[in-house]
Every structure is written in structure tokens, then in C-alpha cells.
């Protein structure tokens, strides 16, 4: 039985992701860790309209009947929980960040907020970028060093102690990417306002 408080946390963040255009109607998935289990969105459910029966509880390190219902990216979520200290995971499809991930190996923000919070977001790539063990390992390994990463052409994976924290990283990344694109469109010389920013790409 999933606690009402946990359902409400997942429902609210799912709704926020949809309203902020971070996912399509049926895209993305989110989960939280509860002891040796996780609670994840049901496969095919709409993140923006989650009902209590849209949540699935299953083990992190072993299968049970829950896997028949769980999100396509259950494997990635499980692997991330096993390889990192994450207590919550958000996978979403931030459009500007995905666009930038198509042409670069890392996203280094130029705005103040993301410079403080993220420094650098690596872009990783996999031939089969959904539901495979290779993808799960690539994403989880990258998240050992970074709290948010981009899977090229697919979307972001963010980890945190809470869903709210992972959402913070996700929305900050998308905002940073939108600012970067606008700066590119404006096409005026960049005036550096940060000290030691040349070290961000080594973060």
C-alpha cells in the first residue's frame, strides 16, 4: 500500500513536468526509493494525470509481479538506485536540452543559476537509447559523477534526495539551455561575468 503522501509527491511533480513542457502526453517517468523498493509510474500512464493506481511498487534488486506493470525505463531506474545514492529520479524530455544534446558532448551553462547549481551537464549516447541494459549502465555510470545528465536525442536523467530536488535540476537545465539558445540567436559578444568559469568544463 503506497502512502497517500508519497502518491501526492509523485502526482504533483508529474503534473508540473507536463505543464512545463518537459514531457509529451505519455513521455517521461519518475520514481522514488522506499527502503529496498522503488515506486515508479505505471507503463503507459500519463505523468500529468497520475491516479493512485498508476503507481507501481517493486523491488530494486529483484523482480516481482510489479515489473509487468512498471515503466519502460524501470531497468534504468533500478540501475541508478544501485549505483548512486539517489532517493528520487526524474527522466523527462526537455526540448531545448535535447536539441543541444544533438550537437555537443557536454552542456556548460552560461547563466548564473545553472552555473551555481550544475556547472556542467555531460551528454552520453547509446545506440539503443530506451529500455536496454547498456543504456541503463551508461546513464547510471554518468550519474555517479553528476546529478543530472543528458542522453543524446532522448532526454535528461536527474537524481536527488527528493523528487523536488531532481525536478529542480531538470528545470534548471532546460532554462539554461533556453538562455543559451537565446544568447546564440542574439549573437552578440559574450561578456564573462564569472570567475574561474573556464574550470566548469573540468567539473
Amino acid at each position: 500500500m503506497i502512502d497517500q503522501r508519497i502518491y501526492e509527491q509523485i502526482r504533483d511533480i508529474g503534473r508540473d513536468l507536463y505543464l512545463q513542457n518537459m514531457i509529451s502526453s505519455h513521455g517521461g517517468n519518475i520514481s522514488v526509493r522506499i527502503g529496498d523498493k522503488l515506486v515508479i509510474k505505471r507503463r503507459g500512464a500519463q505523468l500529468g494525470r497520475l491516479k493512485p493506481h498508476d503507481l507501481v511498487e517493486t523491488y530494486i534488486e529483484k523482480n516481482d509481479s510489479g515489473v509487468a506493470l512498471a515503466s519502460t525505463e524501470l531497468l534504468a531506474h533500478r540501475t541508478i538506485y544501485m549505483k548512486t545514492p539517489a532517493l528520487a529520479i526524474i527522466h523527462c524530455h526537455p526540448r531545448t536540452a535535447i536539441a543541444l544534446s544533438l550537437s555537443r558532448d557536454e552542456i556548460v551553462p552560461i547563466d548564473n543559476e545553472a552555473s551555481y547549481l550544475l556547472k556542467k551537464v555531460p551528454v552520453v549516447a547509446e545506440e539503443f537509447a530506451s529500455g536496454t541494459i547498456e543504456m541503463a549502465n551508461t546513464v547510471a555510470d554518468a550519474l555517479r559523477q553528476y546529478k543530472i545528465i543528458m542522453l543524446r536525442g532522448h532526454g535528461s536523467f536527474a537524481i536527488g534526495q527528493t523528487l523536488e530536488e531532481a525536478f529542480h535540476w531538470s528545470s534548471t537545465l532546460e532554462e539554461a539551455c533556453q538562455i543559451a539558445v537565446w544568447a546564440k540567436i542574439i549573437n552578440e559578444p559574450f561578456i564573462e561575468y564569472r570567475k574561474m568559469s573556464d574550470a566548469y568544463n573540468k567539473f
Binding site: D3, I34, G35, P85, E165, K202
Partner: protein
């Protein structure tokens, strides 16, 4: 070994033998330093047959690879021993200057074993180590000893016990730099039992840093984050830790009158704001700390450092006292006697309830601040009622036939957060390896301050995950050793990157948390070897059975039983709370597994 000094100093007070040997590299990588390194050494040194106050117990003073590098708050050090208060593994850490100075003397750890035939003190000047007669120091109080032995913050630092340690009070602290303390669990009594009055250090060496450029970047970024966070840049500098008083009271989680209530009507009078307004002389800092939460305060009778929030709560809300001057003076007296303020205040609160309920023949009543000076002196010198109270609240309450009135876990008095109003904090207390402790991880951030984000403090399901993470994180931070207040503004990923820059060894955030988990499991195994079981992972019956009577937590008890099984599963322990072999293998604890 960049970061580490690479050397352990070992002094046997029974024989007078002094030796040094290299720090084991694998041990350093696995347990880093501080609390972790101390636990690993204690595992080999002190088994279940050893009485904590016997010569066979050891004191292990440790620093870490970041110590003395200049990284923010890299001044701290740790002591590890078997606790005479709880019988569990114990580590306590402290700030100030002594830890930095010890590292500069060229060591990662100091092991003190045996018992001197008569009182002695130890002087360490780099590789020169001398054991001196301390006949003229024995009996002196902390401030006087510290001054006499030449305390000079940046050059020569003094660590000592006071009368409480000499008289083997099981709540005796070890004091450093005058008014800093390795407070909890009675390490001062272990030092007293060794006839060791003081340890003085001078060092001239500088730790090696592998990647200076990366280290400077981490210093810069850490400074930026500490300045950006209102807790570390405004609340703590302006009000010190007592800023928590009104915040914790407001949510109904401030244990009052020996936890009979969870809100104190006099909280405003003993708050950080009141302390700043009426008694603050100036702020102060530990070495390399930009936060500066230290308060120098003054009343008509005393001037000194503190009190901290927990102390103000222990002599304040816990005892039903709203006389802030009396609390400041009780704090100063404890510091001079060398006694843990949390345990001392809580033990007095316990005595007040025993007396009010007629279980103890005494005139003690809640709200009596005037009793503090005599009671504290008696506790330190083990005189009259103090002969029982000086060993903490559980022994006191047991002596009078009502152990349930001791607000303690595993015999260590609970700090200033009521588990009925902070469900995660209760689980954290119950499973803390050294007894009820707010420094083995703290749900204050998540359940009250919203750091890094707010969670529901009454949520029960899922709380174990937060508690496990924060316990592991705290163990890692204690092994570095740096101040946990930095973690209010700076996440563990910064510590991992800084550790990598200093040592040249790549540590990911998860690696650091994994180190903390290894330390936590080792401590757990140590306690199991000492005979502790699932039955010891509990809270005082009051918190489990007596709902809060009014305020924001009204009607709540701790839901510990519902959280404990989930916690064990989250840790990879069996239903009895014993770490499973698979988990220990995953943590690469093969050397420990052999012994298990």
C-alpha cells in the same frame, strides 16, 4: 600519499613506549580518516572483553586527508574509543585548532593505550614526542590547564580533561583549545582512566595537495555556495546554532520538561535572537571556517564560548528553565569541568522528573536554574547525588527504579529534537551507533529547514531511505573530517571532488557515500560483537506510547516500529539488524568478513 600524512603515532602509557608506523594505504582509501579510520583501528584493537575504563581500551585521535589543507572547515578531528557511557563504539569530533595542528605535526592518527602509573601529559612537536609528569596539573580545571600549557591558536594547541574526566564521570568530555569539546559518550573518562591529563601539539608541516588548480577551484566554488545559502551566510553567523530554538519549537519538536511536552513556552527567552541581543560579545571562527557560528557571550559572572543550541535546550527547555544567564553559566561551568552539556542537562531534567514524581527524595523541581552550579560540581566530582548523576540519566533513573524516565537511546541522552514531531529523527536516534545523537545524520534539514528540500515530517513510509542516506553521508563527512554545517550549503559532490583534488584518487559522490556506508556497517558490527541487538534500536517508552499533548505535533507518537523493518531492508541487514554477507561483500569489507 597526497592528503594523508601517511603515519600513525602510537603511545603506550603503561610502558612509556612511543612508536610510529605507516598508515595502511588500503585502510586509508576504504575508511579515509577521522571517524572511519578510528572505527577501523578500534575494530582490531578493542574487543568485547575490554572494560571501557581499563588500560586495554584505547583512545584513537584521527584527522583526515582534507585536514589542514585550508579547505573550508578543515580544522576538525575525531576521537574513537569504546564508550564508558553506552558500551558501544564511540567517536566524537571537535573543531577549533587542535586537529589542524596535529595534522601539521605529521600524523593521521594517534593511538593512546595503557595506563600511566601517575598523571602525565603528552607533548608532540612534529616527530619529537615526550611524556611529562602531570602531578601539578591533576585537579586543575580546563581553562587553567589550557592556559598553563601554552595554548596559542595557530602555533600550539592544548587538549585536556577537567575534573569530570579525572573522576571518571561517564559523561566527561575531552576539551580542546580551551572551550571546544569531544563531548559525547564519556571519552574524558577514558582519558582520566589512563591518568592522561593533556596532549599538546605543535606542527610545522603542510599537507601535500595533488591537484592545486582543481583544489583552488573547489575552494572558490564552495565559498560561493556557502555565501549564497542563507543558513550558512546569515542565520548561523548572526545567531549561531541557537537559531534553531524558535524553529524547532515552532513545529512542536522541542522536548520540554524531560520530553513531557514538545513545545516550551519560554523558548523565545532562550532563543538565538535573545542570546545575540543580550549576551553576545562577538562572533568567532574555527580555523579555515568562513561560517563563524561560534558565539562569545558574557553574563555578570562568566565570559566564554557558547552555548550551542543543544546546550541551551538541555539546560533550558528540557529542565523547564527560561533563565538564559543561568544557562550560559551552566555551559561555561561544564566546559571548565570538562563535561558533556547535553548529557548533563538531560540528566538534571531526568532528576527533576524523578523528584517531582516522588521517585527520588529531593526538592528538585522543573524550572529551578539555581540548582545547576552545585549539581554540576557534584556530578563532575562524583559527590552526593552527583555520584550517580555524574554517570548519566539512565544509570540515575535505573538507580531509582524508573529507567523509562531516562530520555536516552543505548544509554546516551537524546538531543533537542522530539521524535514524535520529526518521525525520521526518531528512526535516526534509534539506529544511531553511538546512542541518541543528532550528529550521526540529522533530519533537521529535511524535516524542518527544507535542506535540500522539505519533506513531510510526519511521513512514515519511505523515511528509512532518507535516514540511511543521511547516516551514510554524516559518516563520510566525519571521516574527511569537516564540519557538517558546510553540508547545509554544499552538497557531497563538492566534498568528493575536493577529496579527489587533494589525494589524486578519483572519488565520485557515490564513492563517498559508500565509504560512509562502510563505516556505518563496521560500527554496527562492532556493536553486535559487543552484544547489542535489535532490541537496543529503540526509543524511550514515552516517545513510543505517550502522544504529544498539544501544539503542532499534538496526538503524535513515534512510529518507530513501522519504520525499523523498512530501515533494515534499506540497509541490506536481516530482520535482526545484522548486516548480510552480500552487503558486506559489496562494500569490499573482506578483511572484516573474515573476523565475522
Amino acid at each position: 600519499m597526497n592528503g594523508w600524512a601517511g603515519k600513525i603515532l602510537d603511545i603506550d602509557l603503561s610502558s612509556g613506549a612511543v612508536k610510529t608506523y605507516p598508515l595502511d594505504e588500503r585502510m586509508a582509501r576504504q575508511y579515509v580518516g577521522g571517524r572511519g579510520l578510528g572505527a577501523r583501528i578500534l575494530w582490531d584493537e578493542v574487543g568485547p572483553e575490554v572494560d571501557p575504563l581499563s588500560p586495554e581500551n584505547v583512545l584513537i585521535f584521527t584527522v583526515g586527508p582534507l585536514t589542514a589543507t585550508g579547505y573550508q572547515t578543515s580544522n576538525r578531528f575525531s576521537v574513537t574509543t569504546k564508550s564508558p557511557l553506552t558500551g558501544t563504539i564511540l567517536d566524537a569530533n571537535s573543531g577549533g585548532y587542535w586537529g589542524m595542528q596535529f595534522k601539521k605535526a605529521g600524523y593521521d592518527a594517534l593511538i593512546v593505550r595503557g595506563r600511566a602509573q601517575s598523571p602525565v601529559w603528552i607533548e608532540i612537536k612534529d616527530d619529537q614526542v615526550q611524556i611529562h609528569d602531570a602531578a601539578d596539573l591533576w585537579g586543575m580545571r580546563v581553562r587553567a590547564v589550557t592556559e598553563k600549557l601554552g595554548q596559542n591558536n595557530n602555533r600550539r594547541n592544548v587538549l585536556t580533561i577537567g575534573p569530570a574526566g579525572e573522576n571518571l564521570s561517564r559523561i566527561a568530555a575531552i576539551m580542546n583549545d580551551g572551550q571546544r569539546s569531544l563531548a559525547r559518550g564519556g571519552p574524558g573518562a577514558v582519558m582520566g582512566a589512563k591518568n592522561l591529563k593533556a596532549i599538546v601539539v605543535e606542527g610545522k608541516q603542510r599537507p601535500e595537495i595533488m591537484d592545486q588548480e582543481r583544489f583552488k577551484f573547489m575552494l572558490y566554488e564552495t565559498r560561493k555556495l556557502l555565501r549564497a545559502n542563507p543558513v550558512t551566510s546569515q542565520a548561523l553567523p548572526e545567531f549561531g546554532t541557537p537559531v534553531m530554538m524558535n524553529l524547532v519549537n515552532a513545529v512542536g519538536a522541542l522536548p520540554t520538561r524531560n520530553a513531557q511536552q514538545s513545545q516550551f513556552e519560554g523558548a523565545d527567552l532562550i532563543s538565538g535572537e535573545a542570546l545575540t541581543e543580550k549576551y553576545l560579545v562577538k562572533n568567532d571562527n574555527c580555523w579555515a571556517c568562513p561560517i563563524g557560528c561560534t558565539r562569545v557571550t558574557q553574563t555578570d559572572k562568566v565570559k566564554g564560548e557558547g552555548p550551542e543550541f543543544e546546550t541551551m535546550w538541555a539546560f533550558g527547555a528540557a529542565c523547564g528553565v527560561d533563565d538564559l544567564a543561568a544557562i550560559i553559566e551552566a555551559n561555561a561551568l561544564c566546559n571548565d569541568l570538562g563535561m558533556d552539556t547535553i548529557s548533563a542537562g538531560s540528566t538534571i531534567a531526568c532528576a527533576m522528573e524523578l523528584s517531582e514524581k516522588g521517585y527520588m527524595d529531593s526538592d528538585l523541581r522543573f524550572g529551578q536554574a539555581s540548582v545547576f552550579p552545585k549539581l554540576l560540581e557534584d556530578m563532575a566530582y562524583k559527590r552526593d547525588l552527583g555520584s550517580v548523576m555524574g554517570d548519566g540519566s539512565l544509570r540515575l533513573a535505573t538507580h531509582f527504579g524508573h529507567p523509562e524516565l531516562s530520555m536516552s537511546v543505548k544509554g546516551m541522552e537524546m538531543p533537542a529534537y522530539d521524535p514524535r514531531g520529526m518521525q525520521g529523527q526518531g528512526l535516526l536516534y534509534a539506529t544511531s551507533n553511538r546512542g541518541a545523537c543528532h550528529m550521526r545524520g540529522n533530519m533537521l534539514g529535511l524535516e524542518v529547514l527544507g535542506l535540500p528540500k522539505m519533506i513531510d515530517r510526519f511521513q512514515v513510509q519511505g523515511k528509512s531511505s532518507y535516514v540511511v542516506l543521511h547516516q551514510n553521508s554524516a559518516a563520510a563527512i566525519d571521516s574527511l573530517v569537516i564540519c557538517k554545517f558546510t553540508n547545509m550549503g554544499v552538497a557531497e559532490e563538492y566534498f568528493a571532488r575536493t577529496l579527489s583534488a587533494v589525494t589524486g584518487i578519483d572519488f565520485a559522490t557515490g564513492d563517498l557515500i559508500r565509504i560512509g556506508e562502510r563505516v556505518y556497517n563496521l560500527e554496527r558490527l562492532y556493536n553486535i560483537r559487543e552484544g547489542f541487538t535489535r532490541a537496543d534500536d529503540t526509543l524511550p517508552p514515552r516517545l513510543l506510547n505517550e502522544p504529544v499533548v498539544d501544539g503542532p505535533s499534538k496526538g503524535w507518537v513515534s512510529h518507530l516500529p513501522e519504520m525499523l523493518d523498512e530501515y533494515y531492508r534499506a540497509r541490506g541487514w536481516d530482520a535482526n539488524g545484522v548486516p548480510k554477507r552480500e552487503r558486506l561483500e559489496l562494500l569490499e569489507m573482506d578483511d572484516i568478513l573474515e573476523a565475522v
